[in-house]
């Protein structure tokens, strides 16, 4: 790997090639009203066994980044540029068939709302068995045993009976466990978790996060954790990428991001989420709204809402400045 000039490009860690290296990923939605680019040149990397957070407000393109990485977007959305190198192969170059073998095998994903991501007409067991049969050379009966085993792994009580139930008979937390069970049946090396706890209440949230952390510890599964909840990030993640309007604006270790955030957007994000009395997704303290993706904002995309905006922010796009601690794309970086 060579070091990249893209925003947030993979900072090299000596001697270890990252498990996932996304470089300059671009995803576009085409319609007759024009083309919008919800993911615009995003780069990030994840090392084996690492939990990496991708944070930002809703609409900043973080979910679209995850879906694009999995190649789960379909017309009129399409991945239009960049590289997604996973375990040495560029996923964007694979055939549909090869990509299918990846999904649910080495590379798995869980989602935001466990209510809607399970097929309501299929028994829990059948949905897990489906995943097992696709990726492991076992017979159906063996797969059924493995399915119960997977439920046990995600600490579902009485897994045999839960396996025979339908999704609507389970609580939200249980359903998310089932989705996790489906995702980890084939021991993926990377799990992409798209806001996996957002739809759950707080106690269940903690249980699910503990479970994910445990899976990382015991199976060494790396995770891309997409969230807007900085509290969870602080507690569970190793490194952080901050996204704004389709771009990565800052990256760094959890410690650095929380101790000395460099980008004004990150600072605003921290202020709004960590001050007592505000809800995790309450962004009121950042003035204005994130720009609609159609907007073509000149200069830095954050400048209309930035408290410390400079003149050049309105016209020139800031480059990503990188040092040992991380990277940020802000003109203040150079001035400071």
């Amino acid at each position: 790997m060579t070091s990249s000039t893209h925003a947030g490009g993979g900072a090299e860690v000596a001697g270890s090639e990252p498990l996932l290296n996304v470089v300059g990923l671009q995803t576009q939605i085409r319609s007759d009203r024009g083309t919008i680019t919800p993911v615009d040149g995003v780069s990030f990397h994840i090392k084996a066994g690492e939990i990496v957070a991708l944070v930002g407000e809703s609409g900043c393109g973080k979910s679209m980044t995850a879906l694009s990485t999995m190649r789960l977007v379909s017309s009129p959305v399409s991945v239009t540029g960049g590289q997604v190198v996973f375990e040495g192969t560029d996923l964007l170059g694979l055939s549909d068939r090869q990509m299918r073998r990846m999904r649910g095998g080495r590379l798995a994903m869980i989602f935001q709302d466990p209510m809607t991501f399970l097929n309501p007409l299929m028994k829990v067991a059948d949905q897990i068995v489906e995943a097992i049969l696709l990726h492991q050379p076992v017979k159906r009966r063996e797969a059924e045993k493995l399915a119960v085993e997977a439920l046990r792994r995600v600490r579902i009580p009485a897994p045999e009976s839960v396996a025979e139930r339908f999704p609507h008979q389970l609580s939200g937390g249980m359903r998310q466990r089932v989705l996790i069970a489906i995702a980890i049946t084939s021991n993926p090396s990377l799990l992409i978790a798209d806001e996996p706890t957002t739809a759950l209440d707080v106690t269940v949230q903690a249980q699910i996060m503990h479970l994910l952390a445990d899976i990382r510890r015991t199976a060494g599964t790396a995770m891309l954790f997409i969230t807007h909840d900085l509290g969870l990030v602080a507690e569970y993640c190793d490194r952080v990428y901050v996204m704004y309007s389709g771009r990565v604006v800052e990256e760094g270790s959890v410690f650095d991001i929380f101790a000395k955030p460099r980008h004004p957007y990150t600072r605003a994000l921290l202020r709004s989420t960590l001050s007592p009395g505000t809800k995790a997704d309450d962004f009121v303290s950042i003035q204005g709204h994130p720009p609609a993706a159609f907007d073509r904002i000149a200069g830095c995309r954050f400048h209309p809402r930035c408290p410390s905006v400079l003149d050049r922010c309105r016209t020139e796009e800031p480059p990503t400045r990188r040092d040992a601690a991380g990277a940020a794309a802000c003109w203040l970086e150079g001035a400071a």
């Binding site: 789960l72 549909d96 299918r100 073998r101 994903m109 989602f111 809607t116 991501f117 309501p120 299929m122």
Partner: protein, 321 residues
């Protein structure tokens, strides 16, 4: 859910009551003597008219007449056919099997083909296959079924002479065994096809919409994310969910389908309930008309209840009791 089911049954009961009231109302509100509605305008003898008058209690107070009438209906006594001088219920039951054969064939044909085509069209959304099928279905939807029957008759029976034009049996065909079955099948093809087209259009359009809705659901993305192949995503995950509302519509459209069978049977002189209805109209055979109306309503009510039960079987989310 049990209460919902009970409500359906109660509603069905009310419908039957309303139907009996309507019949009663028609007999009495129609211009002329009610007895004419019961035995026709060319009554054979004054004695017979008197007999019917007594039987229906036409000289008694209206409420009493109504109760008497309702009691007869409850026992499936729909009176006597003016044309055949036989109990209406016997005539109807004799004609029912032919209608059920025609409807059953057409329903199986149109549902299977419609659902399969819609699923295929949904998989290849906005392709030329999708466009051709959808356009055809829109046209099929706008055609009067009996006109399509006339066209089929003109082309396949009268000009190409491939298939028989009228009825259910040929005179020359063997009267039993395999030959007879074959003969009936040959007669069945055109009416069943005609009858299928409208429902095919309906089922296709409905399934297509439901497929698009299903394919936009989150569990579809989740299935793809675990590596499920596209054909399985479409035909297993999406289709099963899309079919549920389609089943309901098919069940709830039962009355509509029976209406279609009246028209199609008339075109092809298929000796079923619909043809009987048509003949009764021409002969002003009011008891038969009312008998068929009542029986058909009862069938619709039962079909609605069965649909609910079937739904409960297919959809695990619905639990009665």
């Amino acid at each position: 859910m049990l209460s919902y089911f009970a409500r359906r049954v109660w509603q069905g009961f009310l419908v039957i009551v309303v139907i009996i009231c309507l019949n009663f109302f028609l007999i009495h509100a129609a211009p002329g003597d009610p007895v004419n509605a019961l035995i026709g305008t060319m009554a054979p003898t004054p004695e017979y008219m008197e007999q019917v008058r007594r039987e229906y209690g036409l000289d008694e107070p209206l409420l009493w007449q109504f109760l008497r009438y309702a009691a007869r209906m409850a026992q499936f006594d729909f009176g006597e056919s003016l044309r055949f001088r036989q109990p209406v219920i016997d005539i109807i039951l004799a004609r029912l099997p032919a209608t059920l054969l025609l409807m059953g064939t057409a329903l199986v044909l149109s549902s299977t083909v419609g659902i399969v085509l819609a699923a295929a069209a949904a998989k290849f959304r906005d392709s030329w296959v999708d466009r051709v099928l959808t356009t055809t279905s829109i046209v099929g939807f706008a055609m009067p079924a009996f006109w399509l029957g006339q066209l089929m008759l003109i082309v396949f029976a009268l000009n190409l002479n491939w298939l028989p034009a009228q009825g259910m049996y040929s005179l020359r065909a063997p009267s039993d065994g395999f030959g007879r079955v074959l003969d009936i099948l040959r007669h069945l093809i055109l009416p069943a096809l005609t009858y299928s087209v409208y429902h095919l259009a309906l089922i296709y359009r409905l399934t297509r919409v439901k497929m698009h809705e299903a394919l936009a659901q989150d569990y579809i993305i989740a299935a793809r994310a675990r590596g499920v192949a596209e054909h399985r995503v479409v035909y297993v995950h999406a289709l099963r969910n899309a079919i549920l509302p389609v089943v309901t519509i098919i069940g709830l459209n039962f009355g509509f389908m029976l209406a279609g069978s009246v028209l199609v049977e008339t075109v092809f002189a298929w000796p079923g309930l619909g043809r009987l209805f048509y003949e009764a109209i021409s002969a002003r055979d009011y008891p038969v008309l009312m008998g068929i109306f009542t029986l058909v309503s009862g069938m619709v009510v039962i079909a609605n209840i069965l649909t609910d039960m079937l739904y409960a079987v297919i959809d695990p989310r619905v639990v009665y009791g």
